[in-house]
């Protein structure tokens, strides 16, 4: 993590305390988590107390307080995907990544999450890997998608 990058993000938002959430979102996008030193820098520059930053950072699910894996796997558990066997897909992902929802493996390769409807129910069961949607999945195809992740 480079402080220059953090300061750049803060300055793009005019060092504006009311832009706290936007700034945190950008840091999250950049590093896939919110490193403590970055939060301290944000607090110092914006003059926002750490207690407030922590509250915001832990309130929204978009933020992570721990490092995330290189590949983010979201498994849809929505109704449509559920009836088409989302739980089998989740099982496969779990076997393959070695971790369950909300977890990241020790090598920081995969972070697994479950979500509720990605909005393309007709393609169910669906997973989203690094922003790319994979639909109509079988167990074997799911394993294939994960194997192709470096």
């Amino acid at each position: 993590m480079e402080m220059k990058t953090i300061d750049g993000i803060i300055e793009r938002h005019q060092v504006e305390p009311s832009a706290l959430i936007q700034i945190l979102l950008e840091i999250q996008r950049e590093y896939h988590w919110l490193p403590q030193p970055a939060l301290h820098e944000v607090g110092r520059r914006l003059q926002v107390p750490m207690s407030r930053i922590q509250h915001v950072a832990t309130f929204y699910k978009a933020f992570s307080m721990v490092p995330k894996g290189r590949h983010r796997v979201n498994i849809c558990m929505g109704t449509a995907c559920h009836v088409r066997g989302a739980s089998r897909i989740l099982e496969t992902v779990q076997e393959h990544a070695g971790v369950g929802p909300g977890e990241t493996d020790l090598e920081h390769k995969f972070s697994v999450e479950t979500v509720n409807c990605i909005g393309c129910c007709a393609l169910g069961p669906v997973i989203d890997v690094n922003g790319k949607i994979h639909g109509r999945l079988t167990r074997a195809e799911t394993a294939g998608v994960l194997e192709r992740c470096e």
Partner: protein, 210 residues
């Protein structure tokens, strides 16, 4: 600032515009139970115990008196069968979290709340926010804050700040209606100084007065 007249429990009450129903009632000597209210702090509206009934234009509504400001000609009731039921329910829910809180026990006696109505769920903190707001608004140190949300919400000390400021202050301790605050503080201490080398956090002095 103009004053407005309203009726609380049949009594004609005069209050400055912008004051809360709670403050207006109390200034007229009408008690309303509260848990998250503190005169020096911005109202939170968190515990809902101060709920009252207001009547305007022929309709009766429930409002939270600590965050509802006075209006001309309002008719307010601070006691009714419905309100007693609501307060009893709130107390029973809170008692599931903090069964040993003296303040809750006292209110429970008054409202006939049964501390065993719900399965105990030892959260201890009832999230009144008194410690958080007092530290931020009065002491100005922001050493303790909330984290997470919903059923996972809890208070959390910022270790770097707590290590420097809290031992000399502890102004929030006597405000807490439960014993959770002190426990959280001691826990933070053991996390910051895992080998117990700190006297700051291990001191056995009880809560000091604010």
């Amino acid at each position: 600032m103009s004053t407005v007249h309203l009726t609380i429990d049949g009594k004609d009450v005069e209050a400055e515009e912008g004051t809360s129903l709670l403050a207006a009632a109390r200034s007229a000597g009408i008690p309303i139970p509260t848990l998250c209210h503190h005169d020096k702090l911005e109202a939170l509206g968190g515990c809902r115990l101060c709920m009252v009934e207001v009547e305007s234009r022929g309709k009766t509504r429930l409002v939270v008196s600590c965050v509802y400001t006075v209006e001309k000609g309002l008719t307010v009731r601070t006691r009714s069968a419905k309100l007693e039921r609501i307060r009893k329910g709130i107390l029973e829910l809170l008692l599931a979290h903090a069964p040993d809180s003296p303040q809750l026990a006292e209110l429970a006696r008054e409202y006939g709340a049964d501390r065993n109505r719900y399965e105990p769920e030892s959260l201890f903190c009832i999230l009144c926010g008194l410690c958080v707001r007092y530290c931020a608004e009065v002491v100005g140190k922001h050493a303790v804050g909330f984290i997470d949300r919903g059923i996972r919400k809890e208070i959390s000390f910022i270790p770097e700040i707590a290590a420097k400021e809290c031992d000399a202050c502890k102004a929030c301790f006597p405000l807490c209606p439960t014993s959770y605050l002190q426990a959280a503080y001691v826990l933070t201490g053991s996390l910051v100084f895992p080998d117990g080398c700190s006297t700051a956090f291990q001191s056995s002095r009880g809560p000091s007065s604010p």
